[in-house]
Amino acid sequence: MEHLEFDYDGTGAKPARAFALAGVVGSGNLEVLIEAADLGGRCAAVVDTSVRGYGETWRQVLADFFARHAMSDVRVSINDGGATPAVVSLRLDQAAAEIKDASA
C-alpha cells in the first residue's frame, strides 16, 4: 500500500451536501469519499492505493479534477484497488456531481 496526500487551491463554492461516496474498492476499482471540510477554502486529497509508484499521476489526475470542478473546503479520500486514471476520474466526477447536488 502507498499513502499519498495532496493539497490544492480552492476555486469555487462549498459543496451542497456533507459527503458523497462513489465507487467500490476492488481490483481495478476504487471508492471516492468526498466531504465538506473546514480547510480554510482549500481542497485536500488523501489516497491509499494498492499500487505503488504513481504519486505523480495521482497528483495530476486530482489537479485536473479540482480544475474541472470549482470547489472549496472539500476533502477527497480515496481507497484504491489499482484503478486506471480513467476510472479514477470517472469516480471523482460521480462523487463531485453528487456532493454538489442540493436536491436531496
Binding site: 500500500m1 459527503f19 461516496l21 474498492v25 471508492e31 469519499l33 491509499d48 479520500s77 484497488g81 436531496a104
Partner: protein, 298 residues
C-alpha cells in the same frame, strides 16, 4: 425492448438500499464518513473500504419501518470480516430493541473473509444468534439474494436461520462454492466451469423447488421490493412445533432425493414434465410452474 429494467444484480449495495427503500428515507449507521474500517487489512497490504463492505441503517419501505443491511459484493467478494460482521450483528440486536416491522438483509457474499478469518467465523455465529434473537422478539428477518457472489459459506447458514428468503434466478445459496469442491474433491465431483450445473445445484430455482427459499423474482429492483413488502410484518413461528415441522420437511427431502445425481432428477421426481426446460424459464413462468406443483400437492 427490455432495456430500462432496473437491475438488482447490477447495483452496488448502496444503490440496492436506495432502490428498495422509500426515497430519502434511509439513515445510515456508522456510515463511510465515520471511517470504521477493518483494523486487519492494512497489515496484509490490502486496501480497506470506508464501510468495510456493508451498509447498515434504517428507513421505510412503503412507509413501514425496517432496518436494512446490504453487503457490497464488489469489496472482497462481500466477505465477512470483524467490522463487517459486527455491523450486521449490531443491526440485528437493534431490531430486538426497537422492533421495526422487519430487518432486511441483502446478502451478496462468499462467506468468511479469510484475511481476518477467525474474527469472521465467530462473527457469523454472532450474526446468527442476533438474527434469532430478533425473531424471538417478533421481528421478521428477510433475506434477499441476487448479487454476483450469491450467498455462500457461513452466511448461507445465517440466511436459513431467518424468516424468509427471496432470490432472483441469478441468486445462489449454498455452503460450499463449486470451485472449492472442485479443488478439494476433483473435477469429477464438481466441474465448476459448468455453470449450468452450478445453477442446477445451488441456484435459486432449484432452491425454490426444494423449499429452501420462499420467493423467486426477476432481477428487477421493483420485483425485489414487492417481494420484500409481502413479508414485512410477517414473522414465522419459531417454536418447537416449527422446528419439528422443519425437521420433517428436511428428512423427507433426503429420503426422496438422496439418490438423485442432478437437479433435473430432483425436479423430475417433483413431477415436472420437462425438467430440462426449467433453467430457461423466466420468473413468471417458473412461478406458474411452482404454483401448479403446489396446487397439485394440496
Amino acid at each position: 425492448m427490455r432495456v430500462a429494467r432496473h437491475s438488482f444484480y447490477e447495483a452496488t449495495a448502496r444503490r440496492r438500499v436506495d432502490g428498495l427503500l422509500d426515497q430519502n428515507s434511509f439513515r445510515e449507521f456508522c456510515g463511510p464518513a465515520a471511517r470504521i474500517v477493518s483494523p486487519h487489512l492494512p497489515a496484509l497490504g490490502m486496501p480497506v473500504a470506508f464501510d468495510d463492505g456493508v451498509v447498515v441503517g434504517e428507513g421505510t419501505i412503503d412507509g413501514r419501518k425496517v432496518l436494512i443491511a446490504a453487503q457490497e459484493g464488489g469489496f472482497m467478494g462481500g466477505a465477512v470480516g470483524e467490522v463487517h460482521g459486527a455491523k450486521i450483528t449490531g443491526l440485528l440486536e437493534r431490531a430486538a430493541d426497537v422492533k421495526p416491522e422487519a430487518v432486511v438483509l441483502l446478502l451478496d457474499t462468499g462467506g468468511v473473509r479469510l484475511h481476518e478469518a477467525n474474527a469472521g467465523l465467530v462473527a457469523m455465529g454472532e450474526i446468527q444468534r442476533a438474527a434469532l434473537s430478533a425473531r424471538h422478539a417478533g421481528v421478521p428477518v428477510i433475506v434477499a439474494i441476487g448479487g454476483k457472489n450469491g450467498c455462500y459459506g457461513g452466511m448461507s447458514i445465517v440466511a436459513r436461520s431467518c424468516d424468509w428468503i427471496i432470490a432472483s434466478e441469478e441468486g445462489r445459496l449454498s455452503i460450499s462454492g463449486p470451485e472449492v469442491i472442485e479443488t478439494v474433491e476433483g473435477i469429477e465431483e464438481f466441474d465448476a466451469q459448468d455453470r449450468a450445473l452450478v445453477w442446477r445445484t445451488m441456484g435459486a430455482k432449484h432452491r425454490r423447488l426444494i423449499g429452501e427459499i420462499d420467493a423467486l423474482v426477476a432481477d428487477d429492483m421493483g420485483a425485489f421490493r414487492s417481494a420484500i413488502l409481502n413479508f414485512v410484518g410477517r414473522p414465522r413461528p419459531l417454536d418447537l412445533d416449527a422446528l419439528e415441522a422443519e425437521h420433517a420437511m428436511l428428512s423427507r427431502r433426503l429420503e426422496r432425493f438422496w439418490d438423485c445425481a442432478d437437479g433435473r432428477d430432483v425436479w423430475a421426481r417433483l413431477g415436472i414434465n420437462d425438467p430440462a426446460a426449467v433453467p430457461a424459464l423466466d420468473a413468471d413462468s417458473f412461478n406458474g410452474l411452482v404454483g401448479a406443483l403446489e396446487g397439485g400437492r394440496s
